[in-house]
Symmetry: D2
Subunit: 346 residues, 4 copies
Amino acid sequence: MLKVAIVGASGYTGVELLRILHSHPEVAVTCVTSEQSAGRPVSSVFPSLRGRCDIVLENLEPVGIAEKVDIVFTALPHKAAMEVVPTFMKMGKDVIDLSADYRIHDADTYGKWYEPHLNPELLPEAVYGIPELRRAEIAEASLIANPGCYPTSVILGLAPLLKGKVIDPKSIIVDAASGTSGAGRGAKVDNLYCEVNEGFRAYGVGGVHRHIPEIEQELSLLAGIPLNITFTPHLVPMDRGILSTIYSQPGGSVKASDLIALYEAFYDGEPFVRVLPEGVLPSTAHVRGSNFCDIGVTVDQRTGRVIVISAIDNLVKGASGQAVQNMNLMCGLPETLGLDLLPVFP
Amino acid sequence: MLKVAIVGASGYTGVELLRILHSHPEVAVTCVTSEQSAGRPVSSVFPSLRGRCDIVLENLEPVGIAEKVDIVFTALPHKAAMEVVPTFMKMGKDVIDLSADYRIHDADTYGKWYEPHLNPELLPEAVYGIPELRRAEIAEASLIANPGCYPTSVILGLAPLLKGKVIDPKSIIVDAASGTSGAGRGAKVDNLYCEVNEGFRAYGVGGVHRHIPEIEQELSLLAGIPLNITFTPHLVPMDRGILSTIYSQPGGSVKASDLIALYEAFYDGEPFVRVLPEGVLPSTAHVRGSNFCDIGVTVDQRTGRVIVISAIDNLVKGASGQAVQNMNLMCGLPETLGLDLLPVFP
Amino acid sequence: MLKVAIVGASGYTGVELLRILHSHPEVAVTCVTSEQSAGRPVSSVFPSLRGRCDIVLENLEPVGIAEKVDIVFTALPHKAAMEVVPTFMKMGKDVIDLSADYRIHDADTYGKWYEPHLNPELLPEAVYGIPELRRAEIAEASLIANPGCYPTSVILGLAPLLKGKVIDPKSIIVDAASGTSGAGRGAKVDNLYCEVNEGFRAYGVGGVHRHIPEIEQELSLLAGIPLNITFTPHLVPMDRGILSTIYSQPGGSVKASDLIALYEAFYDGEPFVRVLPEGVLPSTAHVRGSNFCDIGVTVDQRTGRVIVISAIDNLVKGASGQAVQNMNLMCGLPETLGLDLLPVFP
Amino acid sequence: MLKVAIVGASGYTGVELLRILHSHPEVAVTCVTSEQSAGRPVSSVFPSLRGRCDIVLENLEPVGIAEKVDIVFTALPHKAAMEVVPTFMKMGKDVIDLSADYRIHDADTYGKWYEPHLNPELLPEAVYGIPELRRAEIAEASLIANPGCYPTSVILGLAPLLKGKVIDPKSIIVDAASGTSGAGRGAKVDNLYCEVNEGFRAYGVGGVHRHIPEIEQELSLLAGIPLNITFTPHLVPMDRGILSTIYSQPGGSVKASDLIALYEAFYDGEPFVRVLPEGVLPSTAHVRGSNFCDIGVTVDQRTGRVIVISAIDNLVKGASGQAVQNMNLMCGLPETLGLDLLPVFP
């Protein structure tokens, strides 16, 4: 049994880790932390866990935690993560960090979008953990930068087109929409029920959303040249799910059936990517609660543009599920262990 | 491996059976039927299943089906169920019927609330499948009448009070509310998104809802005397969940803490009933997607009334989850096999 | 033109007052206050108002405000209201207070449920402003205690039965459910989108909700004897609306048609109460955005109980709409002025 | 008083016309029709109308209707509209058609996207009724083709950029999202509550949505050259609202502040278009129930693209509200009469 700590367990990605790991036959969660709720059972913070996961939340004391566990998930806000990750690393623990702190390879870029990095020397060690693109490296890594939710949907959505050099890398526009759990559990007026419900709006428009640098980093690697994208996130009145509708211009005339064949080949054998048949489009409702990424591909015959639509559950493939997938790879376990949960529909 | 058929798999309880059984290590679903979608893969009707459950829907031919499987779930509308269950029985198959057809012991009562029963001779064989009250009988049964969703929440909510003779059996008022999946997948204007969303309403008021006879039958058995209840269902703009708020008059003065102790003793060791501590109340959000029934008990000190609140997921403990729990018992499997899924929150 | 102040305009009842008064031909809102947003246009706090109501929020300085207006709506939390209402009164202004501070006639009762009253000498002057029951007094009043949202739905729902001495006053059970705007605009985790959405739960169970004393006060007056009720509020994942399902025991056997005739007579000519025909039940969706109270009446023939269901929009008839109705009466204007807005459906 | 008929009053645009016209001081709705509900009061189909609009639905007999009214709103499906509009025209009645039947000037284009046109000779008479662009023509017209919901949001969103020749007309990508009332009130599985709720998906992707030809027609007129767009609609789990996020490439480098100034000048004095200040973005929640179109403009400095976001209520400015605005212009009434309703928030 792997002994696991979840550092920062009072947010939505924390409870989702607990839900998933509860079904994992090789894991025991032996430590959960929360600054604000230390001393209370995690099931008093998340009553859904009652009777199955009543472990008491602890304060975040990295050394003490490291002594008790084999592997650490850090589900902290950015900055808070890089304040403690080095300690876990020094004590020889594998770390899967769900924050943004180790996703950007270049410390200056990180500094520009976030703030000065506290331990840039760790950046070369960190592996951006998207298993479909980097399975072998993940298996060898000690520090996983678990990808952001929007980036996961966009990178998986575009990888075959960029690798296959089908599209102009300068032409990418990503119009994405997320359920409200992506905004976290902080008590803000903007996230109140009545502020979100029955409304649809964009936010962070015009090239300012912090997921942009990690998307561009990974897409540039896939394309083999640096690229910039236009990225517009929207907020949807629902709990879970991200849908990214991605526009790009192909080099020449392309057919949807050929592109779908390309995607099927690229993702052949992948357990969690479902390439949809021609004419079928994904919905966040059909991946809810699961680790799937569903991808549909279309060509607008009138304008020639390629339209890729990818759907994930932001808390699963976009966060905690992918983190467990990475853990399985790091620990030599079957990649789907604990993750073969079907979507909850309706 | 148990070979299982799901007869009537194109509704919400059908897809929920498929979701749950996918995580069940001792079951293979080898036959699914649907009159309207025969010939299509079930994953084209429910895209959430794609890649994991692509079995083709068949026409409902009981003899042919019975030859292929060990056990049959019938997830048909009432009447349609009793048209085919006898054939499965004659061929020696265990049947778990999710319709109302075998829930009412008395054929006349069934006839009054539904229509004339087609095979009343089977009624004495059918066991009303609520494991917490009837575990041994279920293990011996060949035909399970799987309880209705509202009845499950009410019976589990009241059993300790009635068995313990704490309350006046004539004083019971049940005010219940259900998510919209309880209304099924039929194409009706009343169930359209815009008709349900942003509204709250009662329906079937005044002693006319068809779940009343089965609730009264079971409560009368618990109380040891015949009783009538007032039952008012409401429709909530959400997918899943039933919350029953149950009022009754105790014989004398009672304390919440004593009643909670009574509930804890009654449900001691039950894997799926969570009796909440004093001052804590259930929410459907905390059982969503799971087989739990959460129960909170309070006393209104000013009026003396006892208030019990119970929450379930109508598609799990209120239908498909309880059906699998019954199957496990019938087949001598561990009762929680395939069912230890934590609630999906948020 | 009446000059009107809205004191405490940054909550949901504040913006609803602004929405309604914008359609009122005899009113000019000349002053709006907010402690936290003073100096900003109210339309920056509520962008729905942009271009139509861009008045700047002021600090709450009662004397200065009183000099500028004819009538004051106080949409403050309890306690904050009674800190300023006396100043408005002394300066001869009519006040419509939307808080609880002047609803309870008895200062001790207020003290028990809230806190010591700061100006109990004003209580005899305050008129509990439910126009259908107290039209003449309201017209003469200088201080209106605008009723709570739940109380409005319950009092209108029960008045004919109690006045007509049809039911046992000790037998009343109110099971009510409210949209989330009733919880206000405060930044609390409990009211976040993901905490409320897809869930249904009771709160304040067991005789502890602060709307109980005002409901019991008014029902006791109607019944002619003191009474206690059992009251259970629930939270519904929707923005607006209250539905109260009210159970009681009639003295003898009654028929729904007779009771409906009683209600029709009682509310004959009322512009905002719609008594529904037999067999028709109200939904909050059908009163959304309007000042209507829809009432349906049924008898459970099997148990003899009377079931009354009443629906209002908690922000309109349950707060700001009723406040404007009271204002019209106090100012000698037609009672429906500015309020004849049809429900917004869907 | 204008006497008005609403032909096809049992859908969501029909009930919205009735809601708006109820507040219109110069209009009496004297005839409403519905094939499926003829003989019943419209308030039995839409209980929100009860007590204020109980007029009985009639069969659609154009000659008889024409004799009774001054002006006709046809809220029928396409094809059904063009079957009756000529009769109303021949009898000298002004018609505002909310279907697609008279929106496309070119009968062949109509035929390609819909079906052969039944009375192409009327097309030159029909004015595409978007008052902000065509006020004078509308005032003179006898037949208004009331614009589609998506087209209204897109055309108002792009008019200043195209008229001002700021952007490359070939570069337009429209990513739009609509509430579910846009899908109508037909009883289809796809529109059931549980199918729509908690999901987000695109539909009609790849240049096949029928609103494309009318968008392209109007944008081409504005640009002065023919153009094609990429248009992707999405379905949002909410009742009302359309948000269009529109991407385009400017000729050179542009600044958001300059573009906003351009929009403010273009829409100067318009009662229903609100151009938002720099840094402020629209939400459908802030226009709900109103005739507003809110527009925000941004430039992605990193890619140079212009991003325009426009929000409307699809049933008001996107259908029935704009129809009443057109009626006011046709009849020489103040343009905002009956339409100055503030958004309902929350």
